[in-house]
């Protein structure tokens, strides 16, 4: 599903060159639930951003769903992200000025779907995460766990094949974290969604199919 070949990422300033990712080779199969662990600054999020086509590698090749996306234009990449990928972030990244339903509808706005269709799909996604009773609430009226569930609903509303989760339980207590983890496992098992999750939590990582450890930009496990 995702193939990373010899991925390198170098951040350059006038005086300093920092190697964030160093020669990563990784194959993630369809339906796999993979977690990435490592100390802060080891390149976990950078790797996830490269997989999510939010950042370009300095070197190497990336294929998603057998497509080489290196030559894709900005427009084509945006469409690809919209259709194939779903994102979950540690800090949720919900738009506080929009109601829960509108937040979940967001990815569908960049497709040609009708208002009625958007509402139906967003309501369904919110039902899946157990928030069908919070459609008209604003994010600031929700708890951290509820906000992350809204973010998951937003990630799955477009029915993507891959979900990239950057420390989805990082801001939550263990009970809430487990709830979120259960939702992700459920998505993986029942919907067959490929999930790549960056985490600091060993317990969460051990619930996934495979664990990849990074250290100083290199894969150590």
């Amino acid at each position: 599903m995702i193939r990373l070949q010899n991925i390198e990422k170098v951040y350059r300033t006038d005086t300093v060159e920092t190697l964030a990712i160093n020669g990563i080779n990784l194959d993630i199969a369809k339906g796999e639930f993979l977690s990435i662990m490592g100390p802060s600054g080891c390149g976990k999020s950078t790797l996830l951003n490269i997989m999510g086509l939010l950042d370009e590698p300095s070197k190497g090749n990336i294929q998603i769903d057998s497509q080489d996306i290196s030559s894709y234009s900005d427009q084509k990449l945006a469409k690809f992200r919209n259709e194939k990928l779903g994102f979950i972030f540690q800090s949720y990244h919900l738009i506080n000025d929009l109601q829960v339903l509108d937040n979940v509808e967001l990815p569908l706005l960049y497709r040609n779907s009708s208002a009625k269709e958007r509402k139906r799909l967003a309501t369904e996604a919110l039902e899946k995460v157990g928030l069908s009773n919070r459609l008209k609430h604003f994010p600031t009226q929700l708890s951290g766990g509820q906000r992350q569930r809204v973010a998951i609903a937003r990630a799955i509303v477009g029915n993507p094949q891959i979900i990239l989760a950057d420390e989805p339980t990082g801001n939550l207590d263990s009970a809430m974290g487990n709830e979120i983890m259960d939702i992700l496992i459920n998505l993986n098992q029942n919907e067959g969604t490929t999930i790549v999750m960056v985490t600091h939590d060993e317990n969460m990582a051990h619930k996934t199919h495979r664990l990849v450890r990074l250290f100083d930009g290199s894969q150590v496990q």
């Binding site: 999020s45 950078t46 951003n49 999510g52 939010l54 950042d55 900005d74 427009q75 990449l77 945006a78 469409k79 992200r81 919209n82 259709e83 994102f87 972030f89 800090s91 990244h93 738009i95 000025d97 929009l98 509108d102 509808e105 967001l106 990815p107 706005l109 960049y110 497709r111 009708s114 208002a115 958007r118 937003r154 477009g158």
Partner: protein, 394 residues
Amino acid sequence: MMFRHLFKLIWNKRKQNFLFLSEILVSFMVIFAVFSFLTFYYQNYSKPLGFDYKKVWSISYDNGLLTKNRDSLNIFYDNLYKSLKAMPQIEEVTYTGANFPYSNSTMSTGLNSNGKKFNPVNSYVVGADYQKVWNIKLVAGRWFLPEDAVTKNKNFIINETLKKQMFGEGDAIGKLIGDYDDKEKMKIIGVVQDIKANGDFWPAGNAMFTRLDTGYFRNNSHILVKVRDGADATFESQLYKFMTNTMKNSVEIQHLSEMRDAKNEVTIIPMVIFIIIASFLIINVALGLFGVLWYNINKRRSEIGLRRAIGASGSSVSLQLVMEAMILATMSLMVGCFFAIQFPLLSVFNIPASVYIVAMLLSILFIYLLVFACSLYPGKQAAGIHPAIALHEE
């Protein structure tokens, strides 16, 4: 669909957008005022002048020392007219009241027709050759003849504007009209083309012309002469000497072309000052809008990053921000138009409704262009926000 989404977003953030909305509203009102003036002036400027001023000179004199005897006064002015007319450099001569075109005098009255009062009406007291001096075009009827001095009803001539107000498309010639108090009836014998006596930028307004009768000479102090091409400064000096010797008093000769320039400057100079002040204000507003948009984008970096992540391209982010600014402008313009539309509805300052409507449309266009221009660069900057960085800033 994006439009509805953006409108919802803006509506939910209306308090944060208050500054932006207020700035646009204030600029719209200022621009509306500027465009109202400009449209009013342009509409008047584009209408024909209605007369020819280029070779006309005015001679102002003080007749206070002349005899009070009416007959000898008439003979004196008749001789003066003949002497002036005999000069080879002079084509036409006429006596006139003080309120000839481009003078700073006005004389107005009111008229009554079919129970309706027409007020004010510029009243011009004119000599027999006034039409020839100015080359005023007759639209209907005729100019004054010597026999008009002895008619039962006083004969007079009106301009097109007054004719339209009184009779619409109907005929005016021969109609009897009441004077200011509606005590005396006067007969319309002619309709002339409108003359823009107050400069190129002001409307002709209602005007009537009455014949200068001999009794008026006692108070009269202005002669207009139309000179031929060869009339130069030497001739002007000769004319001045002649008039001074004849009137035995102070005389002033002015060229109507110079008087026209002076009259137009009275309109142009304040307008230019107003436009300069408004331009500075608009520059400030533009910088303000630019700043507010820039600030908003920096506050919304994570939202922009998120939108990029879930499927927005750089250009669609840019378009979204421009659209948001345009929607905000539309909201302000709706409030602004509510106030602006009161001007034509209430006929404020007696200015034609078309002036306000055109000014309103131009102001709307201007504001949209201003907002569009101010939002382009911040929109472009937003498109350049790197999603991976923006999403990790919080």
